[in-house]
Each structure stands twice: as structure tokens, then as C-alpha cells.
Amino acid sequence: MLLTLLLLVALVTAACSSGGGSTRGAGSTTPTSAGPPKSGGRLVIGVEAESDGFDLTKNRPAASGTVVFRAIYDQLYVFDKYDKPQPSLATGAEHNADFTEWTIHVRAGVTFQDGTPLDAAAVQGNIQAIKSSALTGPLLNPIVGVDVVDPLSVRVRLNSALPAFPSYMATALGTIQAPAMRKDPDSGRHPIGTGPYRLKSWTPGSSLVLARNPNYWRKGLPYFDEIEIRPIPDAHSRLSALRAGDVDMIHTSDGQSIADLRKETSLQVQEEKTGETEEGFVMLNTGKPPFDDIRLRKALALATNPQQVIDIAGAGVGTTADGPWAPGSPWYTPTGYPKMDVAQARSLVQQIKAEKGAVNIELKATADPATLQVAQLLKDQWSQVGITTSIKQVEQSQYILDALKGDYQGILWRQFGARDPDLEYPWWNSKYAAPEGALALNFARHASKQIDDAQEQGRHSDDPAVRKAAYATVGRVLAEDLPYVWLSHTVWALAAKPDIHGLGGGTEVDGSAATGPDNGSFSVAELWRG
């Protein structure tokens, strides 16, 4: 019965799931502005998924969960609209000569929602907890210790130079949770931060209500008295809820919904223009046959028509990808990724056939119809050059395990949305590759000394030009070695009733423009109705 249920639900989710087909596109309607912001009122937001909890050390928030995290907590740093980390709960930070020590100064006069003052000890405890968590620890590998220097300063000791450390603190890793949460076994359901809203009530699967934090340290914020967040997993139901007026605002990465929203005149739509998008791609296991043969990887890349995938499976929303960064990102440089060339692909396949016999490959995809549609399109495209593909459907949690263990040949995947490329370190570094069967974060098992060297250079330099050149090398080597057949950049959009303002992003502490929505996540502090 359970299997039948899985199948039935998979059918229903047909239209809501996003595969590798959606891509970044030009923004559509610009949000309106209607004079000075007005305080008060209630906002209802429809999000794509329920969260498992709100403790960073115990829970893994997706885009929907991050919206709540950003409402309840503040981070030491936040990214601005140019992807530069700007102080938030920190007032600034200094480093030693070789960037192996960072001293962070904490903002004075800030209190948590339970009345505890924010101080250096609270920050020290947070960083230590995040470092020792199974969920977040691997990303904070460079940290070896945290010391309290004075009541409002902590020193972070690192095992290697890390000029990008403030960028780390501008991600969720810089989230500051109240010390009381570390003693609470049920902290995921009782989050306490310094953020603009506090958790008022939460009925998982139904609704989560946030109430204004009256003691918020940024005076005048937030604007709404209360915000209700409702999980509506089906993308079409979410859009219908907005159109019917049941909710005031939604986020979506569903290609068809975004295409529909582009034609909508009675709603305002904000497509993401800042931050880094995730990419949809085919990940190839370079650690075992058949994709240990570069010729076959190249044949696949040359035979793939990503625009057709976008047009058919992604409702025409977005643009093709040639690497892990999209045009518009400060890290983007053209990678030299091969253009579609069916004749050359066919010739490579002929060579392989002559040596090894028929070219049969297996492509894994999740069971949702949108992803299967992408898989089917690719199968058809690859068959044009003589590659026979069998599609294997795998359920989501097994899917991740297969990638971790290298138990796949090709697999449809979506990743690489970090704001600083150093945060992508483990996915591409040969240190994190392992033979099939052992868990490895370098899922493609792609080992390249050039990438390793470039990553070290990017990690250890504070010169933006040097870093950009280093990551250009990463992009170029990925385009040459082809562990990934790039398809598209994922597009996220916010849509709201016309009287909701602030969709484009708020302001930094110093009043400059803050970043806009980022991979479906957005700040609710400066949203208002008027």
C-alpha cells in the first residue's frame, strides 16, 4: 500500500517538481514602491515545503526554512547586492597578516528574544556548536578554535589562510542562536534569535506564525505585526492560492508557474537577479566505467541540447549554463564549455564502439514526472549519436545516498548556489573524492590537480582578481574534463499581491541596498503592505 501511495503522490506532484530544466531568465515586473513603509498588519506567505525544525545545528533548512531562519535569527554578516559580506550582528572583523586568525567584534546592546544579551561568549558557543554539528561541521573544517578576547570580541583560529572568512559568516554558518537553545533537547521547535520576528506558534504541515520582535535592534523594523507561513508543496496549488487571495505572497522555482506569472498582470513578480543560482546538470561518475572515458563524457556534452530541455521541460524559462556560475555573477567567466555538435559526438561514439562495443549508459532520475521528462529528452538526444540510455527512477533519499556512494553512472542533479566559491570547496576537491562504495562529497569522483591548486589559490588569496582568475580555472577545467553536462541555471521567483512592498530586498545596517531574494530565500523584515 505504501508503494502505491508513493506512486500516487508522485503522479500528483507532476507539475510541482523542478528538475534540471528551469533556468535563470530576465526579470519581469518590477515591484512597485508606494511612499514610506507602513507598519502593522498581517502577511500570509505560501512556501514550497515544510521544515524539520529551526536549529541550524540539528536541522537542514531548504529555501522555505531559510525564510524562517532569516526572520528569527540574524547573522554576523550578510551579503549585499554585490555579493560582498557586510557586518550585521558583527560590527567588523580584523585578521592577522596571514589570514589564519580573525577577530570578530560583536554589536553592543543587542538582546536575544529571551532577554539574554548578545556577547562574545554567545558567539563563541555558537561557532563551536556549528563546528561540532554533523550537519554544518564539514563546511567549517578550516576552524580549529574560538577564543573570547573581551566581552564583545572573539578570535577565530583557522588551520589555513582564509581571507573569505567573512563570506562564511554571511551564510547560514554565521547564524547566531541564543545560548539557551544549546541546552534545549527540543531546540529545533523552540528557536530563539535576535531577529525581527519570534516564533509564536508552529503546527508542522499547517502553519507557522511569527510575531514582531518588539525589541529588535534595528529600530523601526520589522513592519508587519505578524507573518503566517504556510507550506503548500504543490507549485500549482501555491500559485492558485495566491491568485485566489488565500495568501499574499509565494515563492516558486517551477518553470510553468514562472512562465504563467510572466503573463500575469494583477500580481507583481520578482525574479531573482542577485546572488548565485543553483545549476541543473547531469553529473557523471568519472571514477568508474563508462564515464571514466573522457571521450564518452565529451560525446554526451556535444550531443546534449540544453535549450530544448529548457523549452520543453522548463516551459521556456531561463538560459543554458556553461559552468557553475551564471552570467551576472561576479565569479562568472566564459568556460569554453563545448557547444552542441552532433557530428563530432557521433564520431566519438563510433570510436568508442570500435574499441569497446555498444555504448549503453544508465541515467538516474527522481520519480517526479518533471525530472523524468528531462531524462527522457536527454535519452532521445543521446540516441541520435548512438548512445543507448536506460533511465532508472530512484526515490529521493536513496538518490542522495547513491550520489554519496558513487553508485551511479549518470544522475540528474541540482547544486552549486553558494555565494562564495570557496563554500563549494568539498564538491570539487580531489581530497573529497573516494572509490565507489565509500561516502564522498566529491560526488563525481573527479580529481584534478589544476582544480585543487586553483581552489587553494582562491581560498588563500584576498585579491579579488586573483580569486576570480582561480575560479575561472575551476570553471574551465570542469568544461574540459566534463564531470558535469551543464543544462541550466535555476530560476526562483517571488510573486505577491500588488499592495505588498519590499520584494526586491531591504537595506543593510548602514542603509545601503541589501541583497535580493537568494535561491528562493528572502528577508521578511522589510516587507510591508500599503
Binding site: 524539520d52 508542522p204 499547517s206 492560492a241 529521493q396 533519499s397 542522495i400 562529497l441
Partner: protein
């Protein structure tokens, strides 16, 4: 009383079989709750530690026995994913699903009974033929398709009813009803068709029996014959099907809850299956199994009300 006791005793082996099979099935499905929790950044060391913490390193039969011991003391355990007690999760979600199912059955019966009776009054008449065609139409439309059409017409076009969401009955009864109308109608549609066809067929048979001929010979009005004499004996199959239909209704509720984003047992079970949240799945399976057996037990009891001869037969055995 002896009949009630015997029926309740049946529940025990049914629960053992159902819970063991579901425990086995969900554990045999590919996937791992530890990977679901830790995500793509999982390291071998952390995977091993969390598996031990959640007692997932023990063999399935041992875990099942532990679960049985816990359930004997009234504890269904905690969700692996959000650490919410399973009982609390069920308590929060059960009212929505119960309300949805009761309303759906109420809608289905409110439509099916008059339609079935009127169709049986003149078999192959115009009303009967229209009813038959409508019933086949309703059966042919999948409920997720019907849901989309209903949302388009009543929520998006006419703005009469909400497209999704839920308001608790205790919070605002009117809003509660508004939120449940479209899901309940979606769920009820296929049942209307089945019930109409079933009642019509039973009524046609009943109306050919001698006691109806006698009633007609006595000059009783048509309405009285249909409602007082023919209806009750014709509901035997209908009541049986309502009981058996509970399983289909629960399955339908899972899909309808998902489409309308209702916080019910269906969405809880489905998300728990995807997350491999074994204890929550077990909790909901126990609830569904108990509910199913109890509903069919009530159906058995109702037979004696509908036809007292049943009780006499049972008393003799």
C-alpha cells in the same frame, strides 16, 4: 456483548500483522532516514554516529520489538526528523482528516440517497439514465483532476471558496467549513457514483418483492412505499460498502490533502514516507488500521439494526 468482545479481539492479530508488515516494508524501501537528515554533506563518521543515536544500527525485528514495548506503554516514539512526539503529530493532524472524511461521506450520501431512490423509482427512465451517465462520468474523472477544475471554477474564477489551507473548527467554524468544501466534494465525487449505482440496484430488487406489491395493493402512496418500506432493506449493501470504502477514502484523503495543502494524517504519512521517518509512519499505520477495523466493526453492529434477523443468527452461533 460477546459479539463486541470477539470483534475487538480480532483487532489484536490484525494490528500485529499490519504493523509488522508496514515496519518491514518501509524498512525494506531503498533510502535511509540518516541520509535524509544529514543531506548531501554527510560524512561516514556522522552517518554511523546518527544511526547509532537513532538505534537504526539494530536489526529490523529487534527494532520492531522495541517499538512494540514502547507502544504497550502508550508511547509511539518521536519523529527522527523534527523530534516531535508521534502522538502529538497525530493529535494535531487527525481532526482535519476526520472532518474531511466525515464531510465527504455526508456529501456523498446526501446526494446519492435521493438520486438512488429516484433512479430506482422508474428504472431506465430519463432520470435513471441521466443518473447512470453522471455516475460513470464521476467515476471516470480522477480526483486530482476534479480538484483542479473545482479550484479553477470556485476559487479562481468566482472567488467563492479558498483554493487551499485550513482553519481549525475551534478557531472559526465558518472558515473551517469553507476550507473543507472543495476537498470534501473532490473526495466525495467517486463515492456518489458508487453509492447511487448500488442503492438503485438494491432498491430495484426490493421494489419487486411481495411485500412491496402488497403495499401497493393496499394503495399506499408511492413516496411512503419508497421511503418507509423499500429504503431500509435496500441499504444493507450500501452500509457494507461504506465500511469497506474507508480504505479507499483514506487513500483518497492522502491525495486530496496534498492538493489542497491540508494538514491531515495523509500529508503527515506521505511526508514521513519520503523522509523515511519510520516511527511516524508506524504511528499513522496503527491509527489507520485501528480506524479501519473499528469502522467495519460498527458496520457489523449496524447490520443487526438494519435487519434484526442478523442478531438472532449470531446469537445462535
Amino acid at each position: 456483548m460477546r459479539f463486541v468482545r470477539r470483534q475487538l479481539l480480532h483487532l489484536v492479530p490484525v494490528l500485529f500483522v499490519v504493523t509488522f508488515l508496514s515496519f518491514l516494508l518501509i524498512n525494506l524501501l531503498p533510502g535511509d532516514p540518516v541520509i535524509t537528515i544529514l543531506g548531501p554533506g554527510a560524512t561516514q563518521e556522522h552517518v554511523t554516529a546518527l544511526r547509532k543515536e537513532l538505534a537504526l544500527d539494530e536489526p529490523i525485528p529487534v527494532r520492531y520489538v522495541h517499538w512494540l514495548k514502547r507502544i504497550a506503554t502508550g508511547h509511539l516514539g518521536q519523529s527522527y526528523v523534527n523530534r516531535q512526539p508521534v502522538l502529538e503529530a497525530i493529535r494535531q493532524r487527525l481532526p482535519t482528516t476526520l472532518e474531511l472524511m466525515i464531510l465527504a461521506e455526508a456529501f456523498a450520501l446526501a446526494l446519492a440517497i435521493p438520486m438512488g431512490i429516484l433512479a430506482a423509482r422508474r428504472p431506465n427512465g430519463i432520470f435513471d439514465r441521466v443518473t447512470t451517465t453522471t455516475a460513470f462520468g464521476l467515476l471516470a474523472v480522477p480526483n486530482f483532476m476534479l480538484a483542479v477544475v473545482l479550484v479553477y471554477v470556485f476559487a479562481l474564477h468566482w472567488h467563492l471558496l479558498p483554493a487551499e489551507g485550513y482553519t481549525a473548527l475551534t478557531q472559526n467554524p465558518f472558515e473551517n467549513l469553507r476550507h473543507l468544501v472543495l476537498p470534501a466534494v473532490t473526495l466525495a465525487a467517486a463515492d456518489v457514483a458508487v453509492y447511487v449505482r448500488l442503492l438503485r440496484s438494491e432498491m430495484v430488487t426490493t421494489l419487486q418483492q411481495d411485500f412491496i406489491t402488497l403495499a401497493r395493493a393496499k394503495g399506499l402512496p408511492d413516496r411512503r412505499i419508497l421511503l418507509r418500506h423499500a429504503f431500509r432493506p435496500s441499504t444493507f449493501s450500501l452500509v457494507t460498502v461504506i465500511g469497506l470504502n474507508l480504505g479507499r477514502l483514506i487513500g483518497g484523503a492522502f491525495i486530496v490533502e496534498y492538493i489542497f495543502a491540508l494538514p491531515g494524517i495523509g500529508t503527515l504519512t506521505v511526508s514521513s514516507i519520503f523522509n523515511r521517518d519510520y516511527l511516524v509512519v508506524q504511528g499513522t499505520v496503527v491509527l489507520i488500521a485501528v480506524g479501519y477495523v473499528l469502522a467495519n466493526f460498527l458496520v457489523d453492529v449496524s447490520y443487526s439494526f438494519l435487519d434484526p434477523r442478523i442478531k438472532d443468527v449470531r446469537a445462535l452461533t
